[in-house]
């Protein structure tokens, strides 16, 4: 039975539950918008990293460079899209 629950994965799961609890603090506690957003951004991206590395084994195969390049490229372009659009659609008119 033990071998079916490797420590790495169990710890990963507990850690991701913890991150969820931390993220929930922005709902249950009073805090400024900036602090709340910081918490959310940090917890979300750490959570994504946990999933990618522990659960998705992103770094294990012979193609890990290609995989990481894809993910960083996608992540970077995703951020550019979000921030650039906000700049061009909202912030640029304030």
């Amino acid at each position: 039975m033990r071998e079916l629950f490797p420590m790495k994965q169990v710890n990963g799961f507990i850690f991701s539950l913890l991150l969820t609890v931390v993220a929930l603090s922005v709902y249950f506690l009073e805090m400024s918008f900036q602090l709340g957003m910081t918490i959310l951004i940090v917890t979300a991206f750490v959570q994504a990293g946990v999933q990618l590395i522990i659960f998705m084994h992103a770094g294990e195969g012979e193609d890990k460079n290609a995989i990481y390049t894809t993910l960083f490229y996608g992540g970077f372009l995703g951020l550019v899209t979000v921030l650039g659009s906000l700049l061009a659609m909202i912030w640029g008119y304030l």
Binding site: E3, L4, F5, P6, Q9, G12, F13, S16, L17, T20, A23, L24, V26, Y27, F33, G36, M37, L40, I41, T43, A44, Q47, A48, Q51, L52, I54, F55, M56, H57, A58, G61, E62, D63, A66, I67, T70, L71, Y73, G74, G75, L77, G78, L79, T81, V82, S85, L86, M89, I90
Partner: protein, 198 residues
């Protein structure tokens, strides 16, 4: 088909390795798909027209249940892959089944949530905000729905054929998909719900 027995079953043939890389690239495209949805969501977030705002319609309980369900299912599919790698077919099928059940439960709660939105007057046609909210959630939900059927098909194939390089490969790729949906849900949970209720 050359089988390389020094590697995990899912990586054991060249075609399998190509499939896995191909799927990662597909996930890269999915990142951009959801990034576009998030972009639109952030732009429309305050443009509520005559409809309700996020803070008015979001409920923490179903969202929290959905989050726990999906996080757990992500954990169990990870365990399924682990079981597959140590050749424990039965255990693997068990974890696989739990994952699919959790996924179905997630969808159930999400459907409840959509009905709730409908009742409080937040439909696709209410405002740009409710439209993009439901489109984003709906796209994720459709992915989960698609994943459920796909998962069931793979489950049947493992049941029939046992663990072969093909079925192992399909299962591994399915697990990548499922984890990815969990990651996207984390972003939805953080930047749509929690940010909206903050």
């Amino acid at each position: 088909m050359k089988i390389d027995s020094t590697q995990h079953l899912e990586y054991s043939t060249e075609q399998n390795r190509i499939n896995i890389l191909g799927f990662w690239i597909f996930l890269g495209a999915e990142i951009m798909l959801f990034a576009t949805l998030f972009t639109s969501y952030f732009v429309y977030e305050d443009r509520i027209g005559n409809g309700p705002s996020g803070a008015e319609i979001f409920e923490i309980t179903p969202v929290l249940i959905e989050t726990i369900l999906l996080l757990t299912s992500s954990f169990t599919i990870g365990l399924a892959i682990h079981a597959m790698r140590i050749q424990r077919t039965k255990a693997m099928l068990g974890f696989f089944a739990i994952t699919l059940v959790l996924g179905a439960a997630f969808l159930g709660v999400e459907i409840y949530e959509f009905i709730h939105y409908y009742h409080v007057g937040a439909t696709l046609q209410t405002s740009a905000f409710t439209g993009i909210l439901l489109t984003t959630l709906g796209t994720h939900g459709a992915h989960v729905m698609f994943g459920l059927f796909w998962g069931i098909f793979i489950f049947i194939q493992i049941k029939k054929q046992g663990l072969t390089p093909q079925t192992a490969n399909k299962s591994f790729i399915f697990s990548l998909y499922w984890h990815f949906l969990d990651v996207m849900w984390i972003f939805i949970f953080s930047f749509i719900y929690l940010k909206g209720m903050m």
